[in-house]
Structure formats: C-alpha cells, structure tokens
Amino acid sequence: MKKQFVGAATTIILVVLAGYAALFVAPTERTMGTIQRIFYLHVSSAWTGLTAFFICFVGNLLYVFRRQPRWDWLGVAAAEVGLAFTTVVLITGPIWAHPVWGIWWTWDARLTSTFVLWLLYASYLVLRTLVEEPERRGLLSALFGIFCFLDAPLVFGSIRWWRTQHPQPVFMGGAGSGLDPTMWKVTFFFWFSCLALMALLMSQRYQLEAMRGELETIRREAETQ
C-alpha cells in the first residue's frame, strides 16, 4: 500500500514538473509561438502510446504460449492505457494545427497512421466485450493483438510513402530540422514523466482486471452450485 502511494506521489510530482518545464522552461518557438508547447505533450503521448502497445504485444505473446491469466490482464491494461495516450495525440494534433495552419486536420502521415492504430486497438477492446468465456477471450484477443502490432509498421510505412505526396504541414519539421537542445531535454523529461504515468495507470488497471477476473471465477463457480 505504501509502495503504491509513493509511486503515485512520485508520478504526480514528475508530471507537474514536466508540465512546468513545457510551459516555462522550454524556450518559445520562433514561428509558432506559445501553441507549439503542446508539442511536448503530443510527442510524449505518441511515444508512450507506442510503448504501451509494445507491452501489450509482449503480454499477448506470453498469454498465447503460457496461458496464465496475468498476461491477459497485462495485455488489456496496456491496450487501454495505450489507447488513452493515443487519444491525447489525436486531440492535441488538431489543437496545435488550428491556430497555426487554420485547419483542424492536416492528414500528416504520422497523425493519420496514429488514427488507424487507434482504430485497431479500439477494435481489440470491442472484441473483448464480445467473448464471454475468459480463456477464449484471452486467447482470441491476444491473437488479434499480435496481428495489430504486426500491422502497425505496415500502416505507418504505407501512409508515409503514399499519403504524403501533397505539400502539407509537418509537425516536427522533418528529420533535418534542429530542435533547440533545451527543447530536446524538455521533450525527454516529458516523455519520462509520461512513462511513469503510463506505468501507474497500467498497474491500477492490471489490478482492477485481476480482481474482476477472480470475481468472475467465483461468480461462475457459485452459479453451478
């Protein structure tokens, strides 16, 4: 209990510090102004979401080969948290784009691919609601989760190659653009605090799923007696 409290408190402190850094420590961007600060949240959420989906993938593989319920719990916790961070990416994108370029959606390759990724993992969660028996649910969603993760690079690749022909706003200015060193430091710090938040949320969700699983087991046993 105490360990959890310490973990949660640390995470909150980190997040607050990161927010402060993004708003006050990082230098103001030359062309876009203050709104550019949302970039730290946008990029960190994207990287954290991908990290969560990777953890989901590992959980899925372990469930298929080991069949222990905890890997299923890890999978769903990681998928939900990943989806939450991905939602943040999809919301901060338009918020950034509108004041800068006057349009809400820019069909930027990364943003579009992120949208597809969002759809994939949303489907993963929908699938879970449609299978009642726990072992079957774990297996089927693990297998679909594996397919989703294998698909992700293909989605990003295809959209990057063929959906970025027309000139359009690019969020990070491409590979060659230099970010101020302070900006890089803030970016990584923000990402680190997002990872801490991700770990906190995932552990909470994992425990919730574990309790739910045990409750369901008890309920089913009681029903047959």
């Binding site: 994939l120 929908v126 299978v131 089927l140 297998l143 594996i146 397919f147």
Partner: protein, 224 residues
C-alpha cells in the same frame, strides 16, 4: 503427402461447395456492383475525377465486399461441427487455413475481374492495355485481404455480433493493402501508365508477414 496434398484436397472441397451453390459469388458480385454504381451518383465521372477517385472506390468496394463474404468460411464449419472433423483428420492445421484462404482469394479475384469491365464502362476508364498488370495487383491485394480475412473470420466465428465484428476487425488491419493497392492501380490507369514497383513489393511484404503470422499462430485460432 502432408501439407500440400491436404491443402489440395480441402481446396477442392471449398471450390466444389461454392460452385455448386454459387450463393456467395452471386451475392458478392451484386454487392460490389451496387456500391460502384451508387458511388458514381455522388460525383461527376469526368476523366480526371474518375482516374483520381475510381481506383480508391474500387478497392473500398472490394474490401467491404470481402469483409462480408469472408464471414461464412468458418461459420459453415460450425453447422455440423465439421471443423472438428477437419482438425481430427488433417495433420497440419495450417492446411485448413491455406485451403480456405486460397479459395477466398479465388472467389474475390473472380468477382473483381467481373467488376472490371463494368467499372471501365461506367467510369470511362480504359483497362484493357494494362490488364495483365491489373490482374497482378488484384491478385496480390486479394491475397492480403484473404489471408487477414480468413484468420479474422476464425476469430469472429467464436464471438458474438460476428457480422459486425469481422468488418470492424478487418478493415483497419487492411489499411496498408488499401493504400498500396490503390496507388498501384492509379499508376496503371494513368496515361502513360506507370508500374509502381514499390507498391507491388509492399503488397508482397504484407502477404508474407501475415501468411507467416497465420502459419505460426493458426492452430491457436482453431483451439477449443
């Protein structure tokens, strides 16, 4: 003996069953036709518009049709529990998937090729000169659709709301196929026509990745 011969025997069964009733083929052809015609009402099919939007629409229609027609391939096996009979008699469960996905690819390809003249006429797009290339991209794209679709049909057959679930699972997964196939098709229908080798290579990669995944994990999809 083994995987190849079992697949051949099962493929024969799939084809014979479908060609005897033709219900799936006919329904799919009519469905795609309906989408293609209806969509033509939403814009003015001038030369530029047709060449720009036509291929994308065509592939969207194929994807929608596939997500509906792939549903029965495992549902049919549930009626008399024939899936258990197959699992008992076939050494490698991958043969079951291979046979179904090849059969599904053939059905999809057939409907696509039947649609091509209709599309060509309705949208004023010349297709004959590039027919062999079009057949290639249709084959590679349909193979990708079929591999992913057959695997997910096995998943949705075990869940509720399967008619809605299969499209929900399949369509986002097939985004790369949609993008790449459309690009290659657009290139082929331009004048002068261009062959987008990158796109064709990409489709091959997609097919290989998912076929391998199905080979590795297929037996778990059939488990009880």
């Amino acid at each position: 003996m083994g995987l190849a011969s079992n697949t051949a025997v099962l493929l024969g069964k799939e084809l014979r069953t479908e060609f005897r009733s033709r219900e799936l083929l006919v329904t799919t052809v009519v469905f795609i036709l309906m989408i293609v015609v209806l969509f033509s009402f939403t814009f003015d099919p001038s030369y530029n518009e047709s060449h720009r939007f036509g291929p994308g629409l065509l592939w969207m229609a194929f994807l929608f049709a596939a997500s509906l027609m792939l549903q029965p391939c495992f549902l049919r096996e549930q009626t008399n529990d024939t899936l258990s009979a197959l699992r008992l008699t076939v050494d490698d469960p991958f043969a079951i998937f291979l046979a179904k996905l090849i059969a599904n690819m053939i059905f999809l390809l057939l409907t696509e090729l039947l649609m091509l003249p209709v599309f060509s006429i309705l949208y004023n797009v010349a297709v004959l000169r590039q027919l062999h290339w079009l057949v290639l991209v249709f084959s590679l794209g349909s193979l990708g659709v079929s591999i992913a679709g057959t695997a997910l049909a096995a998943v949705s057959a075990q869940a509720r709301m399967r008619e809605l679930l299969l499209p929900l699972l399949l369509l986002p997964l097939l985004t790369p196929v949609l993008v790449a196939s459309t690009e290659v098709t657009v290139g082929l229908l331009e004048s002068p026509a261009t062959v987008q080798w990158k796109g064709i290579g990409f489709l091959i990669v997609f097919d290989v990745v998912f076929l391998t995944a199905l080979w590795l994990f297929g037996e778990y999809l059939l488990e009880e």
